[in-house]
Structures are given as C-alpha cells and as structure tokens.
C-alpha cells in the first residue's frame, strides 16, 4: 500500500471526527462576541460584513484569495515565541528548522530558502535583500503584533517578486490603539538557557493629532540539546546552538503622516549548518550576525469621496555583518583556506541597502466598482557577493573583510486591479502587473478572481500567476550563473466557506500550483540553475469555533507535490493537521492545548542512523497557562513539546536530519502600568 492510499481513510475519519467535535461544540455555544468586536480597530469594524435585509450574521472572507489571520490574542494564548511558531498551527505550512541561525518555512508544498514567501512588517518588505529570503527565529517582537495576515497563493500582481507561495503581513500595534495606550514590560525564563524580555509603550494625543509607539525585545536561547546522540550524532558535546536577538520597533503619527522603524539584530551559531562528527568542522565559536533596519513613511490623502492616494517611501538595510564567522575547519583545505596548518576560519561581510517609493491611487466611481492603480520604483545597492577573509587558525577569528563590490539595480513596476460587483452575490476582480528590472527584464503577472458571497456561503475561484526573480545571491552562489531566469508560477484555486452560526465556520480550499523554471542547485557545477517543474495539488480544510469562553480550531492539509517526471518532492509531507483549543476558566485564567501532526516525508539523503530516507511522522503537543490581571501583573507558563516527542525535520545540508527541541518550558511575568 502506498502513502496516498494509506492517507485516504485517515483523512475521511478526520473529517467525520471534526464534524462531530464541532457539532457538540456548537450545541453549547455561548452568546456574543462583543468583547472581540470592541477589541477590533475602527477599520476592522468598518470591514465587518452584515446583511441588513435579513439581519443575519456574515463573517465571510470577501478577500480576493485565501487569507488567514493570526490575532494578538492567539499569539499570546498559544505561547508563540518565534516567527515560525506563528504559522505552525495554520494549514499548508511545513518547516525545515535547522536550529542555529535559521528556520525555513514552506507553504503549499514548495521547499525553498524562505524566498518564495514575501514577508512584510506593516506593509514594508523585510525579506533579506541579497538572497530574497527572510529569516526565521526570535527577532520579531511578537508582543507588539496586532495581527498577522497570511495571503495564500501567488500575489505578484500586487506585490511583485517573491510573492509566490504567499504573502505574510505582520501588522504591529498603532500609536492610537486603545490597548496600546500603556507601558507593558515582561520577562521570561526557561530551560535551554532561554531568556526573553520585551516592552512596549504608546501614547496618542487626540487633540494635537500626534502619537508615538516604541517596543523592543531581547531573546536569547540555546533552543535544544543537540549534543551527541541527542542531535542524531551530527555534533559533539561541545556544540553551540545559541541565538541572541535584539529588536526595536517604533512609530510616529502626525496628522495624516505615519513614520516607522524596524530594527533587528540577530546573532546566532552557524554550527548546525555542518556536521562535526565525521567531518572537518568545529561545532562552536561560529557566528552568523545579520541586522536589518527598515525605515518608512506613509501618507494617506483623500482627494474626494471617490478618490484617495496612498504614498509610501521606504529604506532597508540588510547586512551580514563583518564579524560573521561562517565556519571553522579543523584541517587545512586550500579550497577554503589560504594558508594554515591546523585549520582555518572564514569571515563574511555582505552589506546591502535599498530604497523605494510606491504611489497607489484608489478610485471608486460607484458602489459597484473599485479601481486600484499603483506605481513602484526601487533602487538596490547590493553586494555583488560576500566579501571573505580567512584566518589560519581554529582559535583566531578572521580579520574584518573589506567592503565588497556594490551593484546598483533598479526596478520599476506598475499594477492595476479592478473589483466589480456583478450583482448582489458575485464580485469579479481582475488584476495585472508589469515589472521591469535591469537584472531579469520584464515580468507580467495577471490575476482573476470570481467570488460568490451569499449570506453564509462564500465561494471563490482564483487564477493567478507569480514569479520569483533571481537575486544577487542566486546569481553569484558557488561558481555563479548570470543567465538565471525568474521562477514562474501558475495557480488555480477554489474555495468554499460556510458560516454555520456566529461562532463556527469552515472552509475547504483546493489548489493546483505549477512552478516552471524551477531554481535548483547543480551539485556538480556548484551553482543555481533553472531546471524542470514543481507541480503541487493540495487541499486544506479548516474548522474554526470562537465564543467568549472557548475557542478551538482544527485544520487538515493534503499536499501532493512532484516534479515534471512525477517524482515526489522531498521534504514535503502529504498529510499534516493541527488542532487546539483555548478555554477561559474564569476571568483570570486561560488554558490552551494545541497539537501538530507532522506527516512522514522523504529526506533528500539517506539518514545514517536509520539507514533510510524517511522522516517519521510525529504528533507534538504544546500547552500554555495564563493567569492575567492580578494587580496589573500577567503570568504565563508555556510548555512546548509537552510529551517530549523525539522528532526531526528534513535537511538539505550535511547533517542527515535536524532534531527538534525536546520538551521546553518558559515562565513569563508581565506588568502593565
């Protein structure tokens, strides 16, 4: 029996179980979600759909695509700590967490270097400039997040390159949010030498129309025990797996102008990138040091009732800093070291900056038609490659690398989107974007959405195209390949959503994604090349239940991903599901229990300790206990991997596979004043 046939009965049982589970829940449904609505922003309230004629509830997803939202409440009550945690309970996400300096996030069956998802903070891109890949980890200040919006599927029509598997927008608290008008500090400590402290403060003067917010975070952890057999015999007992992050977010509002700052400094061990048992690398004293600085300004100008203009100007600095020690070799290898008898260390330096401007005109000539026109201009100043230095010692760090050659790249883009209400129920959206880059030339991305929305039922049909342009890192990696073309995706998606009552909804999404000009590493030539296709068909089914005292979710994802020859894609499991519930025991106490089922998947290489190439399935439980509002104090106990499950993620690097953290706990105390 192959994996596909094995999965079907399990899936059907799951659906039936879900039906019964939520039927029981809805029978005991509590009244009202007024408190939730009061916690919403004005914009969110204005966006809440209702049908006045029938006075029946509608909480339907009218967005032109599949959008799933993670709220501040969920972040807190589920005990999320890192960027990858945010997506662990959503359908469609899979991970390659290599510990140390990065964690890779795959959406809808496409393994990548975090460069198929566009990650934004308050609508401003935060993907690293040279590689196009964002960084997972603890450098995002989750305490200051208002909500996270995940747009599934290609969105290049509005966002350009990288928006292939999806777009993630992290929306931080506004200066005038009522629940931000306080100063809140917290400190947390746990095993694996974990220390987390953060603060946030905001003030808005309604009369002067002036306000500011400032928040910061320090996160430090060894994350897991990876020594010897605990780490699948990839590393010795001396392994370092540290991550130290400092981040700062700020906003200023004056009248109709908004200004923002996002600063992140991430220092982490790069040891887990290599094996040290049976290999020639040292498993301590490496350092991956990367920092991000994003500055932006926005202005919304309403020219008339029908016409408004949104302006955005932004600057980004994403630099792999010059104290980075990429690896330490314990033998003299002339391919990597210039000289040295005992070994050598490699230093990296890669500064990059970029700035851009975007103008978006919104025109609504009547209630049935909404038009969006946008123009984008970006100018990058990127390192042509890493600047490298070497030391001829395993103890002496390499000297500071020199400033690398910088290359100037320009991009101009124009897009338009028209949303037309055909009748009471149907809305049609058409979009088109053209990008013109001096690296990859022109790229056109169309989009078509047909949406049916009637009372409690929503149906969507989406056809869209997207691309990922090769970045400087792709073009120069290894021996380099200046002829790389953009990866291109065509996607067809349909979804049906149903709102059973004010508490309970469900959604089924089916999609077919086809990526051509797939970028893969040619091991022999040691460079990226365009080769073949990656075709993925998948289904996601979601159940959500939200009431005042109890909220619960259950989602299942089926992913069938293969290349043009029908060979299954490695690192992608066919079946995953997530479930969890948060119960408000009383006005002070909440308890959350959640679980992730990670299906079995194929590893790129044979695993030495098992003798095969399968990553086994795993069921991982987490729990969080909150005790809030005790004379201004909030307390939290977070336990992850509650049952101490031994489980692994796949590897596309020298280590055979990546052991994931053992049971780990954190105690947190916060005070608001």
């Amino acid at each position: 029996m192959n994996d596909k046939t094995k999965n079907k009965p399990r899936f059907l049982s799951f659906l039936l179980f879900g039906s019964i589970f939520f039927h029981l829940l809805s029978a005991s449904a509590e009244e009202a979600t007024l408190a939730t609505m009061i916690g919403m922003s004005l914009e969110e309230l204005l966006d809440m759909p209702v049908i006045t004629a029938s006075k029946t509830p509608q909480r339907l997803r009218e967005s032109a695509g599949t959008v799933r939202v993670i709220t501040a409440e969920q972040i807190r009550h589920r005990g999320y700590l890192t960027l990858e945690d945010l997506f662990s309970d959503l359908p469609g996400f899979q991970f390659r967490n290599i510990q140390g300096f990065n964690s890779y996030i795959f959406l809808r069956g496409a393994p990548n270097q975090n460069n198929l998802i566009l990650l934004m903070v308050d609508g401003v891109e935060i993907n690293e400039l040279n590689s196009g890949g964002f960084y997972g980890g603890g450098q995002f200040n989750l305490e200051n997040i208002k909500r996270v919006e995940v747009v599934y599927g290609p969105s290049s029509t509005l966002y350009g390159t990288n928006a292939m598997s999806g777009v993630i927008n992290i929306i931080t608290r506004d200066v005038d949010d009522e629940d931000a008008q306080q100063t809140r500090v917290s400190i947390a400590s746990g095993n694996f030498d974990t220390l987390l402290t953060d603060f946030r403060s905001a003030h808005y003067d309604n009369e002067r129309q002036f306000g500011y917010s400032l928040s910061g975070r320090y996160f430090s952890s060894e994350k897991a025990d990876l020594a010897g057999a605990e780490g699948d015999n990839n590393w010795t007992g001396q392994i370092e797996n540290f991550e130290d992050d400092i981040s700062l977010d700020g906003k200023i509002r004056y009248g109709d102008f908004d200004f923002g700052l996002v600063f992140q400094n991430k220092e982490a061990s790069r040891t887990t990138n290599f094996k040290t048992i049976g290999d020639n690398s040292l498993d301590h004293d490496t350092l991956w040091h990367i920092r991000f600085l994003n500055l932006w300004g926005k202005h919304d100008y309403r020219l008339s009732k029908q016409l408004s203009l949104k302006s955005k100007i932004y600057f980004q600095d994403a630099t792999v800093d010059n104290d980075t020690v990429a690896f330490i070799q314990t033998v003299n290898d002339t391919s990597n070291c210039t000289t040295g008898a005992e070994g050598c260390q490699l230093g990296f330096y890669r500064p990059n900056t970029s700035w851009g401007i975007e103008e978006q005109l919104n025109y609504q000539p009547n209630t049935d038609l909404q038009l969006v026109f946008g123009l984008v201009y970006e100018r990058d100043d990127l390192s042509s490659s890493f600047s490298r230095t070497y030391s001829s010692s395993i103890t002496e760090p390499p000297p500071e690398p020199a400033e690398p050659e910088r290359l100037d790249n320009r991009l101009a883009g124009a897009y338009m989107q028209a949303e037309y209400r055909l009748n009471e129920a149907f809305i049609m959206t058409l979009g088109f974007r053209r990008d013109d880059s001096d690296i990859y030339g022109e790229a056109d991305t169309p989009r078509f959405v047909l949406l049916y929305n009637q009372k409690t039922l929503t149906w969507k049909l989406v056809y869209s195209e997207a691309f990922r342009a090769p970045r400087r890192w792709d073009l120069t990696f290894g021996t380099g390949n200046p002829d790389l073309k953009p990866e291109e995706m065509k996607s067809l998606e349909t979804s049906i959503g149903y709102q059973f009552n004010q508490h309970f909804n469900s959604e089924l999404t089916l999609y077919d994604n086809q990526i051509s000009n797939n970028l893969i590493i040619d091991d022999i030539a040691n460079r990226w090349i365009n080769q073949g296709e990656l075709n993925t068909q998948g289904a996601e089914i979601v159940f959500n239940y939200v009431a005042d005292q109890l909220s619960a979710y259950l989602n299942y994802t089926y992913t069938d991903s293969e290349d043009e020859n029908g060979t299954p894609t490695t690192e992608i499991a066919q079946s995953t599901f997530n479930t969890g519930a948060t119960l408000a025991v009383n006005q002070h106490t909440r308890i959350n229990l959640r679980a992730n089922y990670l299906g079995s998947k194929q590893n790129p290489d044979v695993i030495t300790t098992t003798g095969n190439d399968r990553i086994d399935s795993a069921f991982v439980f987490h729990t969080t206990l909150d005790y809030d509002n005790y004379y201004g104090w909030d307390f939290q106990l977070i336990v992850r991997n509650l049952l101490d499950e031994e489980y692994y993620h796949s590897s596309n690097r020298p280590p055979d596979r990546y052991r994931q953290p053992q049971r780990n706990w954190l105690i947190k105390a916060a005070y608001a004043f």
């Binding site: 039927h23 809805s26 009061i38 204005l46 809440m48 929305n453 067809l492 059973f500 089926y558």
Partner: protein, 186 residues
C-alpha cells in the same frame, strides 16, 4: 499546462461528499450581528471624540451616561457593551428614555428609528448641549445627528456631521473623519 490535471483532489468524490455531510449536520443559528457591530462602534467612536469642557464627561465622579431614545433596537448588546466597557475611563450607565423623557442627563444619545418623526424637536431640545447624538436612519446626518450608521455594500459605514458637533464643542479626531463615508460640514 493541461487543464485536466487541475483540481486533482476534486476527483476524490468521497472528500466532497463527507464535507457536504458535515455541513448538513449543523443547525444554522443565524442571529443578528448588525447591532452588535453598532454597539461596538458606539464604544469605539468615543475614543476619537473629545467632549467639551462643560460636559459632565469631564467630571470623574459621575458615570458616563449612554441614553437610548425610542424603541431599543440593540436587544442586550448595549447592556453587554456597557457592562464590559469603561467609556472615557468611567463606569458606563445605560438609560432607556422609552417614554421620550428628555430631562435625564446624557453624555451620548442614540436616537432610534422609531423617533424619526420627532427628530427635529429632539435636536431642538438638545440645542447644542454637550450630548453626542448618534443614530442609524437615512438622512439623520443631514438633519443634524452628529454620527449616523448607514448600511452600504454589506457593511456599516459612518456619516458625521461636524457642523452640529462643533456647535456642541465636540472635537472629532481626523482619523475618525477620514474613515467616514460622509462628512457634512454645513
């Protein structure tokens, strides 16, 4: 791209059948959410409005009084809102002026549709006193109600009359004005 390869999962008819079965097994309890949204709005908009110095809102010793004139369309939503919200940092007291008795002190007055025919006399009675008037009837904002909820494209939208608000010495945040679908200044 071969279109017949699209939606391969649809071939699994059992999946769809099971989904439909699960949909049918639920009893649809459609309840009104419109006035829950409006109740949330009532609380929310007070954060973007400064009452005049003459208003009792400036007196920390008295509660915030939210009055409803006419037939209460909110069901229990306003009462729930008042019980969980501290408007302007104060305990919120809900008063129903069902008999049209306008002599009670109000900081915010919701004028129900059932009082549409009396609107002119109600507004004349208030005569620029520091009471934030709110309604949800067509043309209310043109007749002088400061904040009016209207229904457009399946959503609640805001209409604001800044002229009458200024007469009563209210200061309305530019952010609220920016989100309003209509701002009447004269």
């Amino acid at each position: 791209m071969n279109p017949f390869t699209l939606f391969k999962p649809l071939n699994n008819w059992r999946l769809l059948f099971t989904l439909l079965l699960s949909v049918a097994s639920f009893h649809v309890q459609a309840e009104s959410v419109e006035y829950r949204i409006k109740a949330a709005f009532m609380e929310k908009i007070t954060r973007f409005i400064n009452w005049s110095a003459l208003s009792s809102v400036q007196n920390d010793k008295v509660p915030f009084r939210l009055c409803v004139l006419g037939e209460n369309p909110f069901g229990g939503e306003l009462r729930d809102m008042a019980s969980i919200s501290h408007i302007k940092g104060k305990v919120t007291e809900l008063v129903f002026l069902e008999n049209g008795n306008m002599n009670s002190r109000c900081d915010m007055l919701f004028i129900a549709q059932s009082k549409q025919h009396d609107l002119k006399s109600v507004l004349q009675h208030l005569n620029a006193s520091p009471v934030l008037t709110v309604g949800d009837s067509p043309d209310y904002v043109n007749q002088g109600v400061m904040i009016n909820f209207i229904y457009t494209d399946n959503r609640i939208q805001l209409e604001i009359n800044t002229h009458t608000a200024q007469l009563a010495k209210f200061k309305i945040s530019s952010r609220l004005l920016k989100l309003a679908s209509t701002v009447k200044t004269q």
